[in-house]
């Protein structure tokens, strides 16, 4: 029996690292959903099983080296989400680890996003969509963003969009606005049925939000 246990343990020791990727090595799965089939567990961090659809690789790498706060109030399933609590910062990685993690994360995809145009908005259209962002759809109540003067404003229960243009892929933004249930079963954000033209302009507007534009 003792021999059997030793053999089993040895087997585990030798087999686990051989199949494990860097995401597993770093224990990312203890807070983040990494597998599509993992629908039962409640995670305390954002889902990453579609990271390859959602993020821009360069941003991902920089985030892993020098994490920034995206959700000032925590993630939606975090028990401390309401009311606000002080959250521990995300762990930072070495450049080498960040490269490996970003590469693996970019390989996690669940769908083929519909390609959208990333053509910049004219000044007039940007003003129009910014107005809709605040008034027609009320996005600013839960999301921080930048106004036309480059000032940060908005609520904190949703992820900050101040750096959305560097963080997110335009195709994913459009997909999320159109069919968020593809990615997350239960959200705290209202569903919107935007006309295709509005969806296109909204996506392009969100992609103009970049932290280097803060004044």
């Amino acid at each position: 029996m003792k021999t059997l246990t030793t053999l089993l343990l040895c087997g585990l020791l030798f087999s686990a690292p051989a199949n494990a990727g860097v995401l597993e090595d770093k224990n990312c799965g203890s807070c983040h959903r990494l597998k599509v089939e993992d629908t039962e567990t409640i995670f305390t961090g954002p889902d990453l099983h579609y990271a390859g659809n959602k993020f821009q690789p360069e941003w991902l790498k920089q985030f892993l080296i020098n994490p920034e706060v995206i959700r000032p109030a925590g993630f939606v399933t975090d028990p401390g989400f309401l009311p606000k609590t002080d959250l521990p910062p995300h762990a930072s990685s070495s450049e080498e680890d960040a490269n490996a993690l970003a590469k693996e994360l970019m390989g996690l995809k669940i769908s083929t996003s519909t390609p959208v145009t990333s053509e910049p908005l004219t000044k007039g259209l940007r003003a129009k969509i910014k107005y809709q962002f605040e008034r027609t759809f009320g996005c600013i109540s839960c999301h921080q963003s930048l106004n036309l003067a480059g000032k940060v404003r908005g609520g904190i229960s949703g992820p900050s969009l101040v750096n959305a243009g560097n963080r997110l892929q335009a195709d994913w933004v459009s997909d999320w606005l159109k069919a968020p249930e593809t990615y997350t079963a239960k959200r705290r954000m209202p569903n919107y049925k935007m006309e295709p033209a509005t969806l296109d302009q909204f996506t392009r507007f969100l992609m103009t939000l970049k932290k280097e534009n803060i004044k």
């Binding site: 107005y131 008034r135 009320g138 600013i140 109540s141 609520g155 904190i156 705290r188």
Partner: protein, 151 residues
Amino acid sequence: MIINYKLLLTGIVYLAILVTACGQNEQATPAVKPPTQQKAGEVIPQMPQLKPIQVTEDTRQTYQWYCSQCHGVKGKGDGINAKFLTVPPRNHTKAEYLETRTDEQLFEAIKFGGLSVGRAPCMPAWGQTLAEDTIHSLVRYIRELCDCEAF
């Protein structure tokens, strides 16, 4: 005289933004009723039928999940977004105000957003997210929080 319509339109949009917005440090009361999510043809043709729907555990959970982000866990208007909004979220425990709003008005505010009933645009439309029965039960829950009625 050649009128630059594009410039004129941009000017109007800027003016509208100066006059009305939902963010901080800006005026909350719209001078002109701005567009809502509904198309002109879709504007509620008739008052929704009020149903005698009860508050259930689901109602409370729905309120906690969605509404408390701004209105607070106990409905006192002190949710985590509250201090970032120019127009403070409604305190649902204040009968002084809520007894001046009918159930229909509360229903419409939830379903079509604050602007649809002449209130702040910070309150988005939940009609694409919540079923009508759920919205009716939320109205009942607000009545429970304010301990008041208005028909």
